[in-house]
Amino acid sequence: MSRTADDPRTGRRTRVLGWAARAGAADYGTVFTWKTWLLGWFVRMLAQVLFFATIGNLLGPGQARYLLVGNAVALVALHGVFATASTTWELQNGTLPLLVASPSSPALVLVGRSLFWLPDGVACGLGAVLILGPVAGLPLTAASVALLTVLLVLVAVTSYCLGLFLGSLVLTAVDLRNVVSNAAFTVMLIVCGPEVPSDAVGPVLAGFGHLLPLTHGLLAIREVLAGEAGAHTAGLAGWETLIGACWLAAALAVLGLRARRSRRDGAALFLT
């Protein structure tokens, strides 16, 4: 912490990120109180996991547990992908031209702007496993829960990077933001392994799934919950991190490109 504060540029970036996160959290705070979050949002998320778990129960032995874990972790990814929609909130505030004209990068602000989804997502995913896991006979130990938490945070962050990328694509098409994030999430349900292992979707879709966040993180979590955490798990976590970093880089590249292009062609982006 003290090392970063010594470098003025890093310190400045941290401050911008921190304030952008606070601005996002303030917007989020008007949507939920802790009561409406717990009784509305959280219950809805639990119901989603339970919905798929009951399907598993119908499908055959072991499937309830498989779908419970898969869909609980997918919830975390869903929250990350929500960044697609909240990235466009900046446009509605009319602050984008001012951000571009400031000496700091608007991309940095957009990265910080939707961070509030991460704790929400991790809480929903972890809550679903802790509350519904015992019902499906999922063995949990203190160690596995600790590792699970770390991996859920990782999946939240990597999915967030994908959400930022999609958000940067639809930044000006405000009416598409929910379509894009929902479609992306449902595609992830198909190819990233929450419902069926990736070899069940054919080599092309499975290959695509391996380029997306969630896939490796979910495999790592399944290993942890099966009591098989080891070097292979760490390798999977490494892949998950790398893929998230790539999506973040792609998001920053698109944002930079759009900022440069809008300066040239006066696209609606910064002229509202």
Binding site: R15, W19, R22, A23, N93, P97, A101, P103, S104
Partner: protein, 334 residues
């Protein structure tokens, strides 16, 4: 520890003689999906000296906002070039940005769910202030702009006037040398607008250069050292408000307090173009020449009228005249 912004600005910091803003032959086209490109600015050359309060005057859609966006580095000109404090607008935008403060009118551009203080701290971070400097500067600005009492209330609870003052505070959080104000009093009631104008004058008094885009003539007349009038993307005139008035030479005005039979006689004098009652009970007589002014003055004083004043036409008439003939005749005479 010094502010990092000074490190980058130090070497290229231009001399005092350099204009704050200078554009040459700026042109900006917007491509439309179908049909020809729309020309928003055409051959615009503007010079704003350091420390000047310069008005950018024109009707809605004249190109003021496009020029403001180019100067604030969020939009590139299609052709032509410009410099802010000696830095090129197209290539040196990173040098320019820390030197500029930008205030747009209207409701947008603040985070409604954050408090006034949080908004300012946020923008302080964006302008690279260290936490300690940001705290001090935020407190000082909240105080100076009369927002200290409501500093910790959410902006969504603010009146339009308070928001606009906060916008101004946000614009100068980075202590800019050039302040771009785009219709800052838009939507304000007359009292709030007057308060804001006083603030702008005070900021200008601190040695900042102010470029003020407005369609409000009284505002330009009250605040600006010089004004540039634009219409349909072209510069129609650039002068001090009083000098501009002289560009409309044929009309002179005499304001008198007189009653009807006398006014009828005044209307009959050679050279009198018309009379118009004003709100304060006086009557404005419009005449076509200096000689006609003399004739009217002599006539009414002789008949015992004591309240007599000659006036130059206001910016409003100049504006209407210039804007209406702007397409055919350009009167830039610099």
């Amino acid at each position: 520890m010094t502010d990092s912004r000074n490190g980058t600005g130090g070497l290229t910091r231009p001399g005092q003689g350099e204009p704050a803003v200078e554009t040459r032959g700026l042109r900006r086209e917007y491509r439309t999906r179908r049909g020809p490109a729309v020309v928003a600015l055409d051959d615009v050359s503007v010079t704003v000296e350091q420390g000047e309060v310069h008005g950018l005057l024109g009707p809605n859609g004249a190109g003021k906002s496009t020029l403001m966006k180019i100067l604030s580095t969020v939009l590139l000109p299609t052709s032509g070039n410009g410099r802010v404090l000696g830095h090129d607008l197209a290539t040196e935008h990173r040098r320019i940005r820390p030197l500029l403060g930008i205030v747009f009118g209207g409701e947008r551009g603040l985070y409604p769910r954050l408090t006034a203080r949080q908004n300012l701290r946020y923008w302080a971070a964006l302008y690279g202030l260290t936490t300690r400097n940001a705290v001090a500067r935020t407190d000082a600005l909240l105080d100076e702009l009369g927002l200290a009492e409501r500093a910790d209330d959410r902006v969504e609870t603010f009146s339009v006037g308070m928001r606009q003052r906060l916008h101004l505070a946000r614009g100068i959080i980075g202590d800019p040398r050039v302040l771009l104000l785009d219709e800052p009093t838009n939507g304000l009631d007359p009292l709030a607008a007057r308060q804001l104008r006083e603030l702008i004058l005070r900021l200008a008094g601190e040695g900042r250069t102010v470029l003020l885009a407005t369609h409000d003539l009284a505002e330009a007349e009250a605040l600006c050292d010089r004004v540039t009038m634009i219409n349909h993307g072209r510069v129609v005139a650039a002068e001090a408000p009083r000098t501009l008035a002289r560009l409309v030479p044929r009309q002179e005005r005499v304001r008198i307090r007189a009653e009807e039979p006398l006014l009828d006689l005044v209307r009959a004098l050679p050279g009198t173009l018309g009379t118009e009652p004003a709100d304060d009970g006086t009557t404005v007589v419009t005449v076509d020449s200096k000689e006609a002014v003399g004739r009217v003055l002599a006539f009414v004083v002789e008949r015992g009228v004591t309240e007599v004043r000659t006036e130059l036409p206001g910016l409003e008439e100049v504006y209407l005249q210039l804007v209406h003939r702007g397409e055919t005749r350009s009167v830039v005479n610099r």
